[in-house]
């Protein structure tokens, strides 16, 4: 019953190691936070999970019948060219592309799914707007809606609140929490905001150069890294 199972992963680019001995697993319904400093390899880990990179050592398996087209992904940065002509609806719909398997065109279900997800994220009114003319927070919601269309079992988010103002960030955490609790969607989120991790996560993976921690939230609070934070919280 494991959706994702990673054993002794060693990550990197073209032989250059970024992080090593990462072991973790994700069960249906989990809310996993991946924390760590900038450059510790969080995004690299996510790309490896998605199959965009292959691990240097170790292996990662998708279990419980999870297929690649059931994973939703919100990239850390989407380098969309400044002049790319695309309407919000076109972007969100593109998340549905692989839902219906090898079907080449969007089915009625796909279109309904895109509409529901735009509704969920409060961007229905923007559907005809041009993506590149939206604010950062709005663009992030559009990309999250696209990810939701693809995410039938699990949603991977790479720093979804980076660059958002505090209010928009709170909204984003709230939306994701609801997706996890109400819709039973499994969430894997990268963040370097440990306090948010402690607030929302069920499990935490803390990536450090040589010793990474993986466990549920209670265990994390017992560790040195976690203690610092719980102390700060109590003070």
């Amino acid at each position: 019953m494991l959706l994702l199972n990673a054993q002794e992963l060693c990550l990197g680019y073209e032989g250059k190691r970024v992080a090593s001995s990462i072991t973790f697993c994700v069960r249906p319904g989990d809310y996993l936070f991946i924390v760590g400093e900038n450059g510790s390899g969080k995004s690299t880990l996510m790309k490896t999970v998605l199959g965009l990179l292959s691990p240097i050592e170790g292996e990662i398996t998708l279990g419980d019948g999870l297929k690649h087209n059931e994973i939703g992904y919100l990239p850390q940065q989407t380098v969309v060219q400044r002049d790319f002509p695309a309407s919000v609806r076109e972007v969100v719909l593109s998340g549905c592309l692989k839902r219906s398997g090898p079907c080449l065109f969007y089915t009625r279900e796909d279109k309904e799914c895109a509409a529901t997800n735009m509704e969920k994220l409060g961007i229905s009114a923007l559907s005809k707007h041009c993506y590149r003319e939206l604010s950062g927070g709005q663009q992030q919601r559009v990309l999250l809606a696209r990810a939701l269309c693809a995410a039938r079992k699990i949603l991977l988010l790479d720093e979804p609140v980076a660059g958002l103002d505090p209010k928009a960030a709170m909204d984003m955490y709230q939306i994701i929490k609801e997706l996890n609790e109400k819709h039973g969607l499994t969430i894997v989120m990268i963040s370097h905001d440990v306090s948010a991790a402690i607030k929302y996560a069920s499990h935490i993976l803390h990536i450090k150069e040589n010793s990474s921690f993986f466990g549920n939230k209670q265990d994390y609070l017992e560790t040195d890294m976690g203690k610092n934070f719980s102390n700060i919280g109590e003070r």
Partner: protein, 283 residues
């Protein structure tokens, strides 16, 4: 005006003028369709490089003299398209340098071959015709027209069938790959189809001006339209209208076909840019 219309009617009695019109509409349609993803993916350099390759291949084809020269030009150009795409994606080899080498060498080899082996008394005329497409569009045979029709149906079919995937891969390649679309397959598909269109379009505007047919409609449409679909539809309309107008003008005024068509595209581009500036000023 009446005289011009009479003149056009007279010209359209000739099959080669009708062939030229059919072929130019079809080729413009295909080139503009592909132009949109190529320009957006910053792949338009491939179009430019391939047009030079096609010129070199043309020289080889003329010498080998097969039943139809397309049979030689098409495979060589497709092969180079794949090669360019591979090196362009490989971060270790600089994509633009290898492209420059390939296109310059193709031009040089093409001219060299034509010079050494050509039996025609007017070599520079031949070279000029291949590069700038001055006459070949008016010397099409029925077979050429059929090849063109079949290839166009193929290109348009591919584009329509894979429209959604082409959008997804063009907009965000890593998301597309992460959710199970084989982005590299579609990049390859686009490159191969582009090669085919370039080979086709060489007849119309000549090797050097092919990239204009690919780039102009997309860039022009992007001035005004803000959705992918809008840009694709607008690019197709612009392209077909410009090429038809350019062809008619060149028949009436006796100017070179390729250059006239490109200048028509340039005019429309200028008009659209002007319109964009005006509307922006108002907001």
């Amino acid at each position: 005006m009446d005289i011009m219309i009479d003149k056009l009617i007279l010209y359209f009695e000739y099959p080669f003028v009708r062939y030229a019109l059919i072929v130019s509409v079809l080729i413009s349609l295909c080139a503009s369709l592909l132009g949109v993803p190529l320009v957006l993916k910053r792949f338009s350099f491939i179009g430019d490089g391939l047009s030079h390759v096609a010129f070199g291949a043309f020289a080889v084809a003329v010498i080998l003299n097969p039943i139809n020269i397309m049979l030689i030009i098409a495979p060589i150009t497709v092969f180079c398209a794949i090669l360019l795409l591979r090196t362009g994606q490989n971060s270790k080899i600089k994509g633009d340098a290898s492209l420059a080498i390939l296109s310059v060498s193709s031009l040089a080899i093409g001219y060299l071959l034509m010079n050494v082996f050509s039996t025609s008394p007017n070599i520079s005329g031949d070279v000029c015709a291949t590069l700038f497409g001055s006459t070949s569009i008016l010397t099409l045979s029925l077979l050429d027209v059929w090849i063109c029709i079949i290839m166009s149906i193929f290109v348009i079919g591919i584009f329509l069938l894979f429209y959604n995937r082409i959008f997804s891969v063009t907009f965000d390649e890593s998301f597309a790959t992460a959710t199970g679309t084989k982005a590299s397959h579609y990049n390859l598909l686009i490159a191969v189809v582009t090669a085919l269109v370039i080979v086709l379009a060489m007849n119309l505007v000549g090797a050097l001006l092919v990239s204009a047919l690919i780039i102009f409609p997309a860039i022009t449409a992007m001035r005004i339209f803000k959705s992918f679909k809008g840009v694709v539809i607008c690019a197709v309309i612009i392209s077909v209208v410009c090429s038809t107008t350019g062809l008619l003008i060149s028949i009436l005024a006796g100017t070179p076909v390729g250059s006239t068509i490109v200048v028509t595209h340039l005019c429309i581009f200028a008009i659209f840019t002007g319109v964009k500036q005006l509307t922006r000023g108002r907001i």
